[in-house]
Amino acid sequence: MIALLALIAGIVLGLILRPELPVGLAPYLPVVVVAALDVVLEGIRDRLEGVYHEGELLVAFLANSLLAVFVVWLGDRLGAQDLSIGVIIVFGVRMFQSLAAIRRYFFRE
């Protein structure tokens, strides 16, 4: 519930503040969004499975975002822009795995 309110609050905040991102940061935005989505699904899964841990989730979000940004940055330096697609695919696969685990939890109960 709080989580849902926080999401709405975030969207409203974004609409009000209209944060202007420097153009140089634009390539990193999608991977961070995907990383955040992945961590959210993982958090829900952990909560349902009873292994949820506050700190771990925060660390997971920060670490995953940092690694994703680093990989994209590296890809940019190496002239391999496809690396960001790789990051998005990896997070996408993980998101579906988390979703499958959540689904399994509900149908096994």
């Binding site: 926080a6 969207i11 974004g14 935005l29 969004v33 955040a36 959210v40 958090g43 989730l57 979000f61």
Partner: protein
Amino acid sequence: MTRGRRPRLALPSILLVLGILVTAAVVQRERLPEGSHGLVALIDRRRAATRSLSGEVAELGERLASAQAARAEGSAELAGVLERVEQLRPPAGLGPIEGPGLVVELRDSDEAPRTRGDVLDLRIQDVDIQLVVNALWSAGSRAVAVNGRRVAAITAIREAGGRVQVNFRPLSSPYRIAAIGDPEQLRRGLDRSSIAEQLAVWTELYGLGFSVRAEDALRIPSLDAATGLSWARPAAEVAP
């Protein structure tokens, strides 16, 4: 501390960040001028601006010429200077020139390259065009243009990124080199040049296109590139 008592803030805070990020991404996209269509519109606008400015340049040039002519009537000195300016205008690439002349067409080969070296051999290169232009100049042409781009004293014919550029604008095959002057004289001069000899061989070897024809009425436009040169004086004044 037992789990669950404390309000769980990690997930909400991540969702908060997620919300802000997604909104920022959406807002960012909207802020771009009509997405990628914006670029097309931008190019169109710039082209229109270029056209209207070119028209303005032509109009101002005419006004300048008539003003100079009006002044020159009263002064012999000014008339002399203007005459000299008039002589210097064609080599500087100023003002369009019309008249009979010669058209040399160079074309990349249709053959498919088999090796890396072939790629260069099968293509007309900047040097080829330079040499043909030089041959036409030395044969006495008054003005030369490559694909409608005036070649003046400050023009560079060079290759960048595999494309031949004249006045820093990319051109592509076929290259039509037009020269104004006596067609017969130009043709003789070109025939004597070593580049014509080489091109004749290369057409056989690599299938490059090389054709020359005389035309009664050619029109070569004025130099439209920005000239960085403000003034110059003959080198003889400095050192022989």
